[in-house]
C-alpha cells in the first residue's frame, strides 16, 4: 500500500540533475515521451535513477506491508470461531504471502534482490504500512481489516494498475482482484456479527471504532505535507493525490456502514451537498507520525516477529543452499514449478 510510510522511507532518493547523469538527452526524451503517451516502462528500458529509486522504495514497502500484514490476521487463525471462517482467513493470509512474492519479483526487475529488501525491512531502513502496527483484539477486527483496511488498500491500488512501470502495474491487476474478494469477505463477516447476538454486534462496532481512523491514515499525510507526491504524479507512478483518494474512500464507506447497521466514529461526518462529498473530522496526525516513527502499539512486536522468523529459519535456508550446491538443483527458497502449480500458479499472464 502506498502510504506516507513510503514517502518517509529510504531517504537516498535524489531528484533533479542527478537523475540524468550519464543519460543522453535522447534517452530522457524517449522516457518522457513514453510516460506522456501512457506507455508502460519495462525493465530493459532506460529510466531516470530517481524513477528507479522511487519505484524500488514504493514496491518494496508494498511487499513488506503484505508480509507484515499477515501477522495481525494470523493472530486469529487458531481462534477462528467456525471452520468456514477459519478456511477463509487461512486462504486470505496465504494470498498475502503470494502478493508479497509477486511484489518482491516486481522490485527485482529494477535490479535489487529480495534479500537486500528483506535486510532493509529487518533493520528498519524500509517501512511497511503503518496500519499493521495496530493490534487485532477481537474476532471482529478480522472483519474490520477486510472491510476497511483492504478497502483503503484497494482504493489506493486500483489506480496503480495503470502505473507507468509495467511489472508493478501488472502485479497490481492481479493483487486487486484478490483484494476485492477479501474485502467482500470482511464486509460479510461484519454483516454477520452486526446482525448476530448483542455481544457480536458490540464486538463489530468496537472493531470499526478502532480501525476507522487508522484506515484513513493509510492514504498518507495531507497533500500539503506529502513530499514525493508531485514527482510521483509527474512520473505517473501515482495517479491521484492522498487527499483525493482518502475522500473517495470516505464516500464509499459511509453508505456501506449504514448498510452494515454500524456507525463510524466521527461526529463531524456529514454529507456536503455543495461539494458532493462527505465532510469528515480532523485526523490525528500526531498519532500518524508517531506510528510511522516506530512508536505505534505493535511496531516493536511486528518487526521482532519478522526478524525472529528470519533468524530462526536461517539454518533451513542454509540447508537448502547446501543441498542445492551438492545436487545441482535450485535452492528450495526459489519458487519451483511444483510449488507455483500448488498455490494456484499464474494462469493469466499477468505475473510481474
Amino acid at each position: 500500500m502506498a502510504t506516507a510510510a513510503a514517502h518517509r522511507a529510504g531517504g537516498t532518493l535524489t531528484h533533479g540533475a542527478a537523475d540524468t547523469i550519464g543519460a543522453t538527452d535522447t534517452q530522457q526524451r524517449a522516457f518522457d515521451a513514453a510516460v506522456a503517451a501512457d506507455e508502460r516502462i519495462e525493465p530493459r528500458d532506460w529510466m531516470p535513477d530517481g524513477y528507479r529509486a522511487t519505484l524500488v522504495r514504493q514496491i518494496a514497502q508494498h511487499a513488506h506491508s503484505e508480509i507484515i500484514g499477515m501477522q495481525p490476521e494470523a493472530n486469529w487463525i487458531t481462534r477462528a470461531p467456525s471452520l468456514r471462517r477459519k478456511a477463509i482467513l487461512m486462504a486470505k493470509v496465504q494470498d498475502e504471502a503470494g502478493h508479497g512474492l509477486y511484489l518482491y519479483s516486481a522490485a527485482e526487475t529494477l535490479g535489487v534482490s529480495r534479500q537486500e529488501l528483506l535486510d532493509k525491512l529487518h533493520s528498519g531502513r524500509q517501512k511497511y504500512s503503518s496500519i499493521f502496527n495496530y493490534p487485532t483484539l477481537t474476532w471482529a477486527d478480522v472483519g474490520a481489516i477486510g472491510w476497511l483496511v483492504d478497502g483503503a488498500a484497494i482504493t489506493n491500488q486500483v489506480p496503480l494498475c495503470r502505473c507507468s512501470y509495467g511489472p508493478y502495474a501488472r502485479a497490481m491487476v492481479r493483487i486487486c482482484k484478490e483484494e476485492s474478494f477479501h474485502q467482500r469477505q470482511g464486509y460479510e463477516l461484519l454483516m454477520t456479527l452486526s446482525h448476530g447476538t448483542p455481544e457480536q454486534h458490540a464486538m463489530a462496532q468496537d472493531a470499526v471504532n478502532r480501525w476507522w481512523w487508522p484506515s484513513l491514515m493509510m492514504f498518507g499525510p495531507p497533500d500539503d505535507a506529502s513530499q514525493h507526491s508531485a514527482q510521483s504524479m509527474a512520473w505517473k507512478i501515482k495517479r491521484h493525490s492522498n487527499d483525493e483518494l482518502r475522500q473517495r474512500f470516505v464516500d464509499i464507506c459511509v453508505p456501506q456502514a449504514e448498510a452494515l447497521g454500524l456507525t463510524l466514529p466521527d461526529p463531524d461526518l456529514k454529507w456536503n451537498e455543495e461539494r458532493g462529498h462527505y465532510d469528515f473530522g480532523p485526523i490525528d496526525w500526531d498519532e500518524f507520525w508517531q506510528v510511522i516513527k516506530g512508536n505505534g502499539p505493535c511496531n516493536e512486536q511486528r518487526l521482532n516477529q519478522r526478524r525472529r522468523a528470519h533468524e530462526e529459519g536461517a539454518w533451513v535456508r542454509e540447508a537448502a543452499a547446501a543441498y542445492a550446491a551438492k545436487h545441482g538443483t535450485r535452492p528450495a527458497s526459489a519458487p519451483t514449478d511444483d510449488l507455483t502449480a500448488a498455490v494456484g500458479g499464474s494462469t493469466e499472464g499477468e505475473q510481474a
Binding site: 499477515m70 528450495a332 500448488a342 498455490v343
Partner: protein, 239 residues
C-alpha cells in the same frame, strides 16, 4: 454412500486432518522463507477441507470441532504434536502424509463411503508428501546442523507412528500391507536423505489405546483450549 455413516472412521480421519491443519496454520508468519508461508498454509487448507467434508458426514462440523472435549477426539497422537522446529514439522508431515497417501490410495480404489473423498484428496496428499520428502532430503543432506536436527526430529516422533496402523472400525483396509508399504516409503526417503531409520519402539505402554481411543498427549488440551475458546464463549451464535 452406504446407508449407515461409518461414524468412527469418519471422525478418526476427520480429526487427523483437523488437528494437523491447526498445527500447520500455527506456522503462519513464522516460516523460514516466504515460499514456505505459502506452502504450509496451503497444506493446512487442504487438510481443513478434508476435515470439513469428513466431519460433515457425521454431523455439524462446527459442533464436532468446537464442542467436543479432548477425550472425545480420536485423532492420532502424531498429528497433535507441537510444531517444534522446522525439522519436527517436516518429520511429522513426512510420516503422516506418507500414511495418508497410502491409506487414501487404498480407499480410493474401493467402493466404500470414503472412496469419493479419497479419490480427490489423494492428489492433494501426493503434493503434501512430495513437499515433506523434498524438505527431508534438503535438511537431511544439507548442512551438519540440519542433518542433526532432522535426525533428531525423526527419532522424537517415531514413537507415535505405530498407532497409524491400528485398524479403524469402518475402514476396509489391509493394515499390515499399509504398514509394510509405509515403512518402505519412509525408509527410502530417509536413506536418500542420508538419515538413519529410527530403531525405537513404535507402540508401547505410553500409547496404550492412544489417540484413536481419545487418549491424548498433554499439549493437545492446550491446543483445543485456544481453538475452541471463542466459539464456546458465544453459545448458539452464528459466525
Amino acid at each position: 454412500m452406504t446407508a449407515t455413516v461409518p461414524t468412527t472412521a469418519a471422525l478418526a480421519l476427520g480429526d487427523d486432518a483437523l488437528v494437523l491443519s491447526h498445527r500447520l496454520a500455527e506456522w503462519t508468519g513464522h516460516a523460514p522463507v516466504l515460499e514456505e508461508e505459502v506452502a504450509l498454509v496451503n497444506i493446512a487448507l487442504d487438510l481443513l477441507g478434508q476435515a470439513r467434508f469428513l466431519l460433515s458426514m457425521v454431523g455439524d462440523e462446527d459442533e464436532l470441532a468446537y464442542l467436543r472435549q479432548e477425550r472425545a477426539f480420536t485423532n492420532l497422537q502424531l498429528v497433535e504434536q507441537p510444531n517444534g522446529d522446522f525439522a519436527h514439522t517436516i518429520a511429522r508431515q513426512l510420516y503422516f502424509s506418507a500414511y495418508q497417501h497410502l491409506l487414501y490410495g487404498q480407499l480410493a480404489e474401493g467402493d466404500g463411503p470414503f472412496a469419493p473423498l479419497a479419490g480427490k484428496a489423494v492428489h492433494e496428499v501426493a503434493y503434501h508428501r512430495d513437499h515433506a520428502e523434498q524438505w527431508t532430503l534438503r535438511l537431511g543432506d544439507g548442512t551438519e546442523v540440519s542433518h542433526e536436527r532432522m535426525q533428531r526430529a525423526c527419532e522424537a516422533l517415531w514413537r507415535y507412528t505405530g498407532e497409524m496402523f491400528q485398524p479403524v472400525e469402518g475402514l476396509d483396509v489391509d493394515w499390515a500391507a499399509l504398514e509394510a508399504a509405509w515403512l518402505d516409503t519412509v525408509g527410502d526417503v530417509l536413506r536418500r536423505a542420508t538419515l538413519t531409520l529410527p530403531e525405537g519402539p513404535r507402540r508401547g505402554a505410553w500409547s496404550a489405546g492412544a489417540g484413536r481411543q481419545g487418549l491424548h498427549t498433554e499439549p493437545f488440551g492446550r491446543m483445543l483450549a485456544e481453538m475452541q475458546h471463542l466459539h464456546r464463549s458465544h453459545p448458539g451464535a452464528s459466525w
